[in-house]
């Protein structure tokens, strides 16, 4: 019997091995071997993760935190030591399964998707690096390790989004994604430095068992102002959250995520479902007791999440690019997960419903979102464009894809008994229990919007008459390697809700909270009914607008003859343009330009002045030594006269 530690090593090292071997040896020429290795290793990693999970949840002792292994990485001062280890608790085990499974599916899919690409070997190598980084992040035992893998996730996403580096749009999207998340990460790093200074440790176990009472009220100098030690801790928690804010692409740092659609579709799929964007939510979930010491931090998390949820859903209703619709839907779903973590605190009491719901939603969302992206990739592969304009009528040509798409869309819409219903219902319930009625209302409204835009996509892509010449002519088929993972993913998209509910309610509580009593709250029965009612209503509206015999498809797809408000939404509230202006005018044209001017004019000017001065001085002395006798004589006479009248030289 393989023990847990071996499994842990296997899960982490198999993707790393794939990355190294494919990157160094197989990537250039042997594309098939690279693909085979990637699929095998990621498959084995997924199998190990599932085995570990079974062993972990079914073992006789109650699941608890365990550190499988830990190495000292760099010692700093005293107790402050950066370590690399593997933490096992329900949350990380769940994430291990999700990441390895999704990565396995995406690798299989990529065999089909990248079949004709010349750089497929590099692709498989980077994909494994991506899942390795995410796995390392998930099992982190401390903030420092989390930051290490956090950055690796960032860089592998940069390499993958810009995979087609001959495409200028892909290159700029990858740069934008990296720099924007890096901007957030700089605050994360600052938070780590501050918190580690105040607390003296990076370990999650220490940070999660802090109480503000334990901090003496001495002052800490933050440069700009002096603050109490406890306040410094709260500032640190907000800074750390900022890292997650950027990585999870919450408003207003959301713009990189839809633009990241420039990458190959399998990459979008893995970024949106299991890696990268979930990292922000995972960070908050992992450090939840730490964030929960301050109510204001949680309130911030809640509003950031809730606003992004509505904002992204509204934009998604107008988009025509199939991948962008899905991207905005991811933003919206991440908003759900984020705010669910923020609603946990009720007065002085921390309720676990939100935390459980949020982690549950990470789980279910991963499957249906991955599936949706893979489906989108299949469609794009057939019609060679992302635009809904060119789709339509694909139902009969791609029956399996059609059925799986329906399952995943019902799941994301929260229709029972599909998986999304269970997790989303819990989130909405948590908002209600937390007495955050405004957020509760927004969540219900957004669940309607979600159903609407997802079915809009569904009807426009699969129903109606074909609008693409290739589809009309029948040049459409389902690729086996690409359809297989879609079909496999439809199973958890359907069942993970029902099967997971019990597991999550039993095991998923956010660690050791400093609040001793966890409130048990009554379940309001009318909430799921209301949520489903709204979803069904939205479905009917979408059907009426886009699929009923009376629907005017051409009118629906036309974005030019629209009201001003529609155009503002269609242009994503002009956020891309705002960013562009700020970066161009303020950073490049402002700060950078002034810095360079300061250097080139002031510093070089002073230098030029010094050089000029020395030249002049040299010239002055030189002319005095020119061998012109009257000058020597004159100087001599003046000197003697001065000496005669003043008795000494006037020095």
């Amino acid at each position: 019997m393989i023990n847990d530690v071996t499994l842990g090593y296997l899960i982490l090292l198999l993707p790393l091995f794939t990355f190294v071997v494919n990157g160094l040896f197989l990537g250039h020429k042997h594309h098939k071997a690279a693909a085979a290795l990637a699929v095998t290793c990621n498959g084995l990693a997924a199998a190990s993760a599932i085995l570990l999970a079974i062993h972990y949840f079914c073992s006789s002792f109650a699941p608890q935190k365990a550190i499988l292994f830990e190495y000292e990485f760099i010692p700093f001062v005293g107790e402050l030591v950066a370590k690399i280890g593997m933490l096992i608790d329900p949350l990380s085990v769940m994430m291990l399964v999700v990441v390895t499974f999704i990565s396995f599916m995406v690798n299989i899919y990529s065999i089909g998707y990248m079949r004709e690409d010349r750089s497929a070997g590099r692709f498989f190598s980077l994909l494994s690096l991506f899942s390795f980084s995410m796995l390392g992040l998930v099992v982190a035992t401390n903030l420092f390790q989390m930051f290490i893998f956090w950055e690796l996730v960032g860089v592998s996403s940069y390499l993958l989004i810009g995979f087609w580096y001959h495409k200028p749009s892909a290159v700029s999207a990858s740069k934008q994604a990296f720099i924007l998340t890096r901007f957030a990460d700089s605050f994360f790093l600052l938070g780590i430095v501050l918190v580690s200074y105040v607390v003296g440790s990076f370990d999650f176990s220490v940070l999660n068992s802090l109480g503000l009472a334990g901090f003496k009220y001495d002052l800490i100098n933050l440069g700009i102002c002096e603050v109490k030690r406890s306040t410094a801790l709260v500032i640190g928690s907000v800074l750390i959250f900022t890292g997650g804010w950027g990585k999870s692409a919450m408003f207003p740092m959301h713009i990189w995520l839809p633009n990241a659609m420039e990458g190959p579709t399998p990459v979008s799929s893995i970024i949106h479902s299991a890696t990268m964007v979930v990292a922000g939510v995972y960070l908050v979930a992992r450090l939840f007791p730490f964030f929960a010491i301050c109510e204001n931090t949680l309130t911030l998390i809640m509003w950031v999440g809730a606003f992004t949820m509505v904002f992204a859903a509204v934009i998604a209703c107008t988009q025509k690019d199939i991948k962008r619709i899905l991207a905005y839907s991811t933003l919206s779903q991440l908003g759900y997960m984020m705010f669910a973590l923020g609603v946990c605190k009720i007065g002085q009491v921390v309720a676990v419903t939100g935390w459980t719901a949020s982690t549950f939603h990470i789980f279910t969302h991963a499957f249906f979102k991955c599936s949706l992206f893979l489906i989108a990739g299949s469609l794009i592969h057939q019609v060679h464009t992302n635009d809904l304009d060119a789709m339509g009528g694909l139902r009969k040509k791609m029956p399996l894809t059609y059925v799986c798409a329906l399952i995943s869309i019902l799941a994301i819409s929260g229709i029972p008994p599909f998986s999304g219903f269970f997790s989303k219902d819990e989130i909405i319930l948590a908002a209600f229990q937390g007495r955050h009625y405004a957020v509760f209302g927004l969540a219900l409204f957004t669940s309607g919007l979600t159903t609407f835009y997802m079915f809009r996509l569904f009807f426009l892509a699969f129903h109606g008459e074909p609008r693409h010449e290739g589809v009309k002519a029948g040049h459409v088929h389902e690729d086996f390697a690409m359809t297989l993972p879609i079909v496999i993913l439809a199973i958890p998209a359907l069942l993970s809700g029902i099967l997971g509910k019990g597991l999550f309610e039993k095991f998923f509580i956010p660690g050791r909270l400093h609040v001793p009593q966890l409130m048990r709250l009554a379940h309001a029965d009318w909430i799921p009914l209301a949520a489903v009612g709204i979803a069904v209503l939205a479905l009917l509206i979408a059907w009426f607008l886009y699929a009923s015999p009376k629907a005017k498809i051409a009118r629906a797809l036309d974005e030019t003859n629209r009201s001003g408000l529609y155009k503002v939404v269609y242009h994503k509230f002009y956020f891309d343009e705002m960013y562009y202006t700020v970066v161009r005018q303020f950073i490049f044209g402002g700060v950078a330009r002034v810095s360079r001017a300061f250097n080139d004019i002031v510093i070089e000017g002073l230098l030029a002045f010094c050089i000029w001065f020395i030249h002049k001085l040299g010239n002055l002395v030189r002319t005095a030594q020119a061998g012109y006798l009257p000058f020597y004589l004159g100087t001599l006479i003046i000197g003697v006269l001065i000496w005669r009248f003043f008795g000494q030289l006037p020095l």
């Binding site: 760099i74 700029s172 700089s186 600052l190 490049f588 950078a592 300061f598």
Partner: protein, 509 residues
């Protein structure tokens, strides 16, 4: 035996020059083979000795070298007229810097294989430069130290003025005169140390046993610190480096940015801060203010530049600023971070300039706006450049991240308002660094390729070897930083002990 080997480190390059002297300049291949062999041999010796220093750590060291924990200690009277000795020895700090130098010299010899002009003289100058840098890091006698320190600037001038590109005369003069200006400041304080110290010795160990008079320290420390800081391009003395680097041939840029610029920071730590700790405690918190330019504005200036070497020069300016942030923190972690950054940045900038040189050899331009898409034609060099970029922006896995995070954590321990502010700004500047690095890589390597680059070829085996070795060094330090931190900590301990023992008088000045 090991002591002899250690002393050979600076002798071998000199011997190589002598051996090559009678060979006619037309036998280029023989000459290059000799130089490459000698550089490889020194590299091997240095690696073995570095390993020995690591393996021996914890065992007692030479008593005569106290308070430093020196291995391979040699002390021979040299110029008896003014009591100068030949004192060399190695602790973790200078041994690692010697290893860095050996790697960069080795890489520098390999990348200059096809240099235009008189190759015999060029390679002889590289070896002389290597001798001087080895000498600076090895010596513990201030006269010896200063002799080697001066030698380096002169070699640099000849190499830039004779083998450089662009405004090579201007760049070479600017570099050498500025460095000479710094040296003059150092020389003045060295005499002060000799006479004011009361022991009439040039030995760093001897001088460290006395407490220098406070009024002397108060003017001598800033003078000496700034004198050294000139070669590490601390604001406002950074102006020589962009022009100097851009004019210099590849190997000289690598050596200048990779090892020579560390000599200043090393001198600040080993001589200025160690011998005058009281004044250091008073002055360093103010020095931090200068770093706002280096660390915060440096990357912004790099954003506005289009010449690859200017970009890298400003990137070096910002990275070297971090060394001073670590030094000014005056905490053990900060000092270790500064030393780590010296080593890490040496490899990183060596790789940067090496790949830039290789790309320039092919494209004959360093203007990134004229390039594009060359990743398709030279994937190996492109990947080398991108990896250097990743190391430069502090990506975990590479040494830069280890050094930077150590500096940040170390600097934050220092409870002074100015240091905190600068540390916070420095942490936030990692975004700006990412901006110029990605912008450069994207413009140069990605996107559309101009038709004129169709015929470009990827790196040859020799070039690939250089890239692979330098990347391996960066990764090695980045992935297993434990051992290097350990030996650095041991060698920093005596320096920190002296600094922390220093009592700052209430009425300092």
């Amino acid at each position: 035996m090991e002591t002899i080997l250690f002393n050979l480190i600076w002798v071998i390059p000199l011997l190589t020059v002598l051996v090559c002297a009678p060979i006619s300049a037309s036998h280029e291949k023989v000459l290059k083979a000799l130089h490459a062999t000698s550089a490889t041999f020194v590299l091997f010796v240095v690696c073995v000795l570095t390993y020995r220093v690591y393996a021996l750590s914890g065992t007692p060291t030479d008593e005569a070298a106290a308070p430093f924990l020196l291995r391979f200690f040699t002390d021979i009277p040299w110029l008896s007229a003014f009591n100068a000795h030949y004192i060399v020895g190695a602790d973790g700090l200078n041994m690692l810097l010697l290893a860095l130098t050996a790697f960069i010299v080795w890489a520098g010899v390999l990348v200059s294989w096809n240099i235009k002009g008189n190759q015999k003289v060029f390679f002889a100058l590289i070896q002389l430069l290597a001798t001087s840098v080895y000498g600076v890091y090895m010596s513990f006698d201030l006269v010896l130290f200063f002799v080697f320190y001066e030698m380096e600037a002169l070699c640099m001038y000849l190499m830039i003025a004779c083998y450089g590109s662009g405004r090579r005369d201007y760049g070479g003069k600017k570099l050498t005169l500025t460095l000479a200006f710094g040296s003059s400041m150092i020389l003045a304080t060295l005499f002060g140390l000799y006479f004011e110290g009361g022991v009439h010795s040039w030995s760093i160990m001897e001088l460290s046993k006395v407490t220098l008079p406070m009024d002397f320290q108060m003017w001598a420390f800033p003078l000496m610190f700034m004198g050294f800081a000139v070669s590490s391009s601390l604001f406002p003395f950074h102006f020589w480096s962009p022009d100097g680097h851009s004019a210099a041939p590849t190997a000289v840029s690598m050596l200048a940015a990779g090892v020579m610029m560390k000599m200043g920071a090393y001198g600040c730590l080993r001589v200025a801060m160690f011998l005058m700790p009281e004044a250091a405690k008073i002055w360093l918190p103010y020095v931090v203010a200068l770093l706002i330019f280096n660390v915060v504005l440096g990357p912004f200036i790099a954003i506005r530049h289009k010449d690859l070497k200017y970009i890298t020069a400003y990137s070096s300016i910002s990275h070297l600023g971090l060394i001073f942030l670590g030094l000014a923190a005056l905490t053990p972690v900060g000092l270790r971070g500064a030393s780590l950054q010296m080593i890490s940045h040496g490899f990183l900038t060596g790789l940067f300039f090496a790949t830039i040189g290789m790309i320039y050899e092919r494209t004959h331009t360093r203007d990134i706006t004229e390039m594009g898409g060359i990743m398709r034609k030279m994937p190996f060099l492109g990947v080398g450049f991108v990896l250097a970029g990743f190391a430069g922006l502090g990506l975990p896995g590479f040494s830069g991240f280890i050094a930077e995070s150590t500096i940040f954590i170390g600097a934050f321990q220092q409870d002074s308002t100015l240091t905190r502010v600068v540390t916070i700004l420095a942490i936030l500047s990692i975004t700006t660094t990412a901006v110029y690095i990605l912008q450069t890589a994207n413009r140069m390597l990605h996107g559309n390729m101009p038709a004129k680059y169709e015929a470009l070829t990827d790196g040859c085996l020799r070039e690939k070897l250089v890239i692979v070795v330098l990347v391996a060094c960066l990764l090695f330090i980045g992935i297993c930083p434990g051992w290097i931190s350990e030996i650095l900590d041991q060698s920093i301990a005596p320096i920190f002990a002296k600094i922390s023992a220093a009592a700052v008088p209430a009425v300092g000045g």
